[in-house]
Symmetry: C2
Subunit: 366 residues, 2 copies
């Protein structure tokens, strides 16, 4: 892991690509001949599918960085971030929100953690014939409310209708654009041993809320999705901790996957402290009962930030002063060795490896 | 219909919005309580759904213009166009292309006819469990090939997998960004009586090729989709005819729908000349046999341009000198009255009204 303050952006970008390509060689090959649910889970299988099919065909430096958003420099010198996500959550409504809220928050958050100020969104709908228009209107109002709260505009869209049985009610794809303020630089290549790992709040609510909303489990718990736009929270933190190295929202695949992607891309080790992970007791309880590791459960209003030690207190104070960051915590540290590894110091004093997710314990949670 | 060269862009935008709102009042109300296939067909039902659900909730000037793309001005003064489309075509492969080609061409063309130079695309995939990975790879290679030919980059994406029976194989949503060159202005409010209506080539191939590829019809014909990126063709025409008023690609809903949208938004009449409509004989034959009006059949590589009379010859020559525009033709004229009406002078010397499409004769062709 080498990174100097004096490296130019393009040198850093080159090193990110080198590093990704190096790790890609060690990533699991795509062995299956058909797509499985695990390919959509955000873990090892997803990585194999993306490497083998999409990156292979589309090759270009922006895509190969596999960030939450691509960042392009315009002729004016302005930097524009661009991001997309499809939403296929089931059920469409769940405690705390709906597919409409998710579709806005997901793209807003991808832009925000890329350092951009989200500004414009587009939305494309694939609707199953027979879908109730009142229900559609409610979902669209959720989108509108979420967009207003985040300060973004939905400026263009598309609607397609497919026959009965050809979609599970409704799918929404959103894409978004935002400008990256001049001088702002976030990159896994800026991450250094000694940096702290922060999470912006309690983890695991969204995945568990959706899981329980399906009503297939014998347990009941009062768990509400954390779906929210974090762009204002991100700005508050960056104002207090301008040397923040890198951020990512911990959606599909959860905190464990985000830390693995960081460890692999930056060539560092990430050591998490189980005792510091902020969690609501009912989420912890539900995860325990179901045998699900909360580190892999999706969040829709939480992000991981890597902050230098000297700005950690300021970052944490800024996060905690904001409603969405009230439960923010320092959950770990970056080490130089062993590169590419994420470990968890357990509450019992031991430690275990936190690997990339294999399979999909919670399909279609976003 | 009033429009002066001296009107500023914002005055024109204001008038477009006024005009759209005026016509919206006269558009059919949304009477259904559930979504039907007709709501996805691009005609009257689509307009009612979009007005009543999406525009109602998302209200903002960019969206309300209902253009192929939204155009926003950045702090630097650069103008950025932004567009999205979902693709749900069945079958996924057809003579002349695949859903992969369509997903790139559709968004590239929406940007191009908005006056932008398309630059960056994103792609979001919803894949049904069990989908063959070799087939997926072929479709992704089609996307890559189309992007290369159009000179755009696919810079970011997303993949979701849904269970068996929850999608019809594969849906792709793309969004795109492009810069509008300084000084370029295209708007329905620039359209004046006396302007000519040009089409960039033969019409109806895409819709009929997909329809026949389903194998449900008793007819066979050698019809190949026209799917193609028209951005280079658009630039060639604009270089030759810089006073071009307005353009739109004639996709879902066909040339008839595009002309209706123009007539309503600009408050003009559009008179088309049946004898001038360029069509391949096999497309004309298939439409005749099936009782389908080719004016409503989707194209994926054709656009309508409104050009002032003094630049019409230059525009036509520029189009015809390009491979994709070899069969370009002047197909009609803009009149001042009756506003909002499209009429067709038939080859028999009569004339008939070309209304907005009702229902969906050809579902899921894009």
């Amino acid at each position: 892991m080498v990174s100097t303050e004096s490296a130019t952006a393009s040198e850093r970008e080159g090193r990110v690509l080198e590093r990704i390509n190096e790790y890609r060689k060690r990533r699991p090959r795509l062995l299956e001949s058909v797509v499985t649910l695990a390919h959509g889970a955000g873990g090892k299988s997803s990585a194999a599918l993306i490497d083998s099919v999409f990156v292979e065909a589309f090759r270009n430096p922006e895509l190969e960085q596999l960030g939450d958003a691509a960042v392009m420099t315009l002729p004016s010198g302005e930097r524009m971030a661009f991001s997309t996500d499809s939403f296929v959550v089931q059920p469409l409504e769940f405690p705390g929100g709906s597919i409409g809220n998710l579709a806005v928050h997901g793209t807003v958050n991808d832009l925000a953690v890329s350092g951009a100020v989200p500004q414009w969104l587009c939305a494309a709908f694939v609707i199953e014939e027979g879908f109730d228009i009142g229900r559609l209107r409610d979902i669209v109002v959720d989108m509108s409310d979420s967009a207003s709260a985040a300060g973004v505009q939905i400026v263009t869209g598309d609607t397609k209708v497919v026959g009965k049985g050809a979609a599970d009610g409704l799918y929404i794809s959103t894409a978004g654009m935002g400008l990256v303020p001049a001088g702002r630089m976030l990159s896994p290549m800026l991450v250094k041993p000694g940096d702290r790992v922060l999470v912006s709040g309690t983890i695991g609510e969204h995945g568990m809320a959706v899981m329980l909303a399906r009503g297939e489990l014998a347990i009941e718990a009062d768990i509400v999705s954390d779906t929210a736009a974090v762009n204002h929270l991100v700005e508050a933190m960056l104002a207090a901790a301008p040397s923040t190295r890198w951020m990512r929202d911990a959606t599909r695949g959860g905190v464990g996957t985000v830390c693995n992607e960081l460890a692999q891309t930056a060539g560092v080790a990430v050591i998490l402290d189980e005792g510091q992970l902020p969690m609501q007791p009912q989420v912890l309880g539900a995860c325990d009962m179901l045998g699900i590791d909360p580190l892999y459960v999706a969040n829709e209003g939480k992000f991981i930030a890597i902050v230098p030690p000297e700005e950690t207190d300021a970052a944490l104070a800024a996060l905690r002063s904001h409603k969405l960051g009230a439960n923010a915590a320092v959950i770990g540290e970056v080490l130089g060795d062993p590169p590419g590894i994420v470990a968890l110091r357990t509450s019992f004093g031991g430690s275990r490896i936190v690997d990339m997710l294999v399979g999909d314990p919670l399909p279609r949670i976003c």
